[in-house]
Symmetry: C2
Subunit: 315 residues, 2 copies
């Protein structure tokens, strides 16, 4: 029986807010303990050149959707998000230069705890709590979108590193003096294995490709049997397969999950990645690590991941 003072209506099951902060949109949702997204909202990132106003707007959007349910906290996935400090630091695609103490401002605006990490770390956590990594203590999560994001779970816990920025596999140098990366260095994995990398490889193989060609077009061309498009997938898989085999030599995960837009290519991606991965593994690791698709719908993965930051703290 409801003995608290929430009025005549029972307070309902507690929920958590998950927020994915992207360069274009801020996507939010309320997530219950079972991983069901019970409400969604979207804000335009460009509308908030003052992050304090974004904190207030998020608190408002969440508040109006609670319907009397207790809010346990707000989880945020953000580029260059730092878990220890609750900050977003020098993000390449957000209108806030420098270091923004976003978690503290959101906690203050919403009146509940706020935890924040890198968007791919959050997604990795979501995969473990609600997706295909449930029950696994050691896994690697890789999201292949515009760039390559990753999250690493060891001994059942997300690896944040000594300073909160661990697991940036997209910036492992796989080719000395290779393609120029947005980070200023050359040869980073994400310049080869991502939507950007796939298109870049395809353009090298088919210089006459139209200017507006994107990764989905390359996929369609490969499915139609075009040799250059098929070769672009094969080359991406060759580089990614080797990089993932190398990653096993660090933490020996039981499984590696591939998510994001490029992973929607299915066997066009997974078959050659598994082949090159297995061929490049050190003897002791062969046949022991699975490469699997994410078990979460792409549309909700980021919000579920961000919400997992809070649900993990309530496990």
């Amino acid at each position: 029986m409801d003995t608290t003072d929430h009025g005549s209506r029972p307070p309902g099951d507690p929920v958590v807010a998950g927020v994915d902060l992207g360069g274009t949109n801020v996507k939010g949702g309320l997530v219950d303990r079972s991983g069901r997204v019970t409400a969604r909202f979207t804000l335009a990132t460009a509308d908030f050149d003052d992050p304090r106003r974004l904190a207030a707007a998020l608190a408002h959007e969440v508040g109006v959707r609670l319907g009397g349910r207790p809010l346990l906290g707000v989880g945020i996935g953000a580029p260059n998000g730092n878990y220890y400090r609750g900050t977003v630091e020098h993000p390449p695609n957000l209108p806030w230069p420098g270091v923004t103490p976003l978690a503290a401002w959101i906690a203050e605006a919403a009146g509940v705890p706020c935890l924040l990490t890198n968007d791919a770390n959050a997604a990795a956590l979501g995969e473990g709590l609600f997706g295909a990594a449930r029950g696994l203590r050691d896994y690697l999560f890789v999201t292949l979108g515009t760039g390559l994001g990753s999250g690493l779970v060891v001994n059942g816990a997300l690896v944040y590193g000594h300073d909160g920025f661990a697991a940036e596999l997209g910036h492992v140098v796989v080719e000395r003096g290779g393609r120029l990366c947005g980070c200023g260095r050359r040869g980073c994995l994400e310049q080869y294995a991502s939507a950007t990398g796939l298109v870049r490889t395809y353009r090298e193989l088919a210089p006459d490709a139209p200017a507006d060609l994107d990764a989905h077009h390359v996929f369609q061309r490969a499915e139609a049997g075009e040799a250059a498009a098929e070769a672009a997938f094969e080359r991406m898989a060759e580089t990614l397969g080797l990089a993932l085999a190398n990653s096993v030599a660090y933490t020996e995960p039981a499984a590696i999950f591939l998510a994001g837009g490029v992973a929607a290519a299915g066997e066009r991606l997974f078959e050659p990645v598994r082949r090159h991965f297995e061929a490049n593994l050190f003897t002791l690791y062969r046949g022991k690590t699975a490469i699997l698709p994410s078990g979460l719908p792409t549309s909700d993965a980021a919000v579920l991941g961000a919400a997992s930051l809070i649900w993990t703290a309530h496990a």
Copy 2:
């Protein structure tokens, strides 16, 4: 006052046996809680083509040195040692093919628990308990000897991986189609960064070098100002520095420790490694991870590491 029935002599402080199983020698010692090695012994590996006889011999060697002190357990560092199963699996340099359940046999022979892992993992643990990594929750330990061994500590615990063989950085492929490695693949880091790798690089630069030249000779020639020897160190540091910078993108350690024979080269090694490391780091990591020498004497590091397996369990 001694009220137990150990006879007239007090039982003394408990000790742990640490055993380093190498291709040539089996080195053992008794280690107290403070990391003092109070007794040492050496056996010739080739004398034990039956590992059950080695287990019995180890129990005997340890037993005669106890002098009434309680023995808490035996820790073993062994090539291809598996912590979860207590096995040595397909070791390249031991006379036992296949899978040997060595920990179980030693525990039976010695009448105390026995824990076993890879020799470099054990050394990494020793660095954290008794050496320069004391108090660090996230670090990487690399030993540069004949090969390159490594151990990885995340969130205060050694990373064993899902199957017990994590942290084999020596077998990260750093050069596609590069030098042939003993593991059968090409381009493994240990073919570039190790005593073997250094000599190999030097021979490429100085094809007339004598047949019996070793890594220490290369060091002496570099110290004497010989250009090819200096260049061999620079190239090793270039490859190792990049590989260590890439490794930060996995677990973001607070420090990386370099140990083993090649690390005795001191600044001849550390200066160029730090330079190439820092130059190759992803923006978020710059200036945050130290590259340091081991704090343990090379002669006792392996025994202290093996003993740490047991002392860590009694922490």
